[in-house]
Symmetry: C2
DNA sequence: CGTGTTATTGAAGTGTATCAAATTGCGTGG
DNA sequence: CCACGCAATTTGATACACTTCAATAACACG
């Protein structure tokens, strides 16, 4: 067994591959390609054709879309254990967004023919993928309804909670928050200033710390 | 062969099941349940637990979410050939939206154990489902970026094109359009009035007809 | 140690929501 | 098949949440 085999990956136990049979796991190990990415590097670009999928061992990736005005939007965020680039692969479309490294990453690339082979012999794997994509849809729908019907303060509060719970490791800028909830950095600023005035958060330099979880959660639910 | 067997369904050729082997198709035929729904009837409600999935033979279904303000949002629209209710089933969650009949429907219900069995013996089927869900994600992301970065006129124009291309059969109200693009009926109205003034559409009674596809497409792309 | 990115604050503009009231069109039941 | 009643549409006036632009300050990075 080699040191970079999937079984030794720190994300193995909560990955899609943890229930594969030995034989298939071996096939995965021999065919995958292990790659290291540094912050701001690009994994794939909008318009590229998918050749396989990426499994994140460590680090974080953001999926960006830039509209014709030049405004950037964060479509999705991925962390260790997640797979990346599957949407275009499964839909048999080109990538419609660009994957940028948010935090230094260890990533394994799995060629598409291997993915298909594994899915053919292990139905559980397909179910596992379906589960992730289906949850993605849920997530998108929640974000969309928020954007449509909630004021920015609520959405900023939602973002603070989301970032704290799901992705605590990373340092998020006001611009990142804005690109996540579909607004501008200035607007995020003013919401944060309000929260700080009321004592719900502390801002030390550029970092944000929630002081009163209850109050922030409450704001996140307001309309 | 019975008259309501899948092979005789008008949507069979573009359904997920068209490539099933005879044996499995037979299993589907004997286990599915054929149901007729009338306009405004509810197929499932937010909070229900999924027991299987629905395959639409004819008609149209809208997936609604109502926020705490009472505002309705159309999350997704389904027509003949589409499957429905799969997201919650695959994600192993409860339904997070309510499915309402938009146009009288013929629908087949397939119990979840049958779905799983079929997926186990026919990997192609899982791939087909993955494809639909992945396209759904694409669709949601496009709508979300529109809502974030385009003015209402563009989004109304987009909706007109979408409804014309994808779901021409149905009569859409201004409220429906508003619920699709995340705005109010009044705002949709004013956009339509503008389009009519410029001669891009005709409004006869409550129906809307596009007079100048090029102009509407152009507006749909503006920022 | 400078240089560019990020944050901050202010002032001004505007797109869209909201509310209200009149009108039209449509489906439904008699 | 017509009339009725209700929902959808239309229009106007008003309000305001958020964006935009601009200019300064603080920080991080090579």
């Amino acid at each position: 067994m080699k040191s970079d085999d999937c079984e030794n990956c720190s994300s193995f136990s909560n990955s899609h591959f943890c229930n594969l049979k030995q034989k298939n796991l071996h096939s995965l190990n021999t065919n995958k390609k292990h790659i290291t990415f540094k912050k701001r590097e690009i994994i794939f670009r909008e318009g590229d054709s998918p050749q396989g999928l990426y499994c994140i061992a460590s680090g974080m990736v953001r999926l960006n879309h830039i509209d014709e005005e030049g405004n950037e939007i964060i479509l999705r965020l991925y962390k260790a254990g997640d797979i990346l680039g599957y949407r275009a692969l499964f839909a048999e479309e080109k990538y419609h967004a660009t994957a940028v490294v948010q935090e230094d990453c260890e990533i394994c690339f799995i060629p598409q023919n291997i993915v298909k082979e594994l899915m053919a012999v292990e139905p559980e794997l397909a179910w596992s993928f379906l589960k992730q994509v289906s949850k993605e849809v849920h997530n998108m729908e929640d974000r969309m309804t928020s954007i449509i019907s909630k004021p920015v303060q609520s959405r900023v509060a939602e973002a603070l909670i989301y970032f704290k719970n799901e992705l605590p490791a990373s340092k998020w800028t006001r611009r990142d928050i804005a690109e996540w909830i579909g607004t501008t950095p200035e607007t995020v600023m003013r919401a944060l200033a309000q929260f700080e005035d009321k004592g719900f958060i502390f801002q030390e330099g550029r970092s944000i710390r929630i002081a009163d979880d209850g109050a922030i959660s409450k704001i996140a639910q307001e309309y």
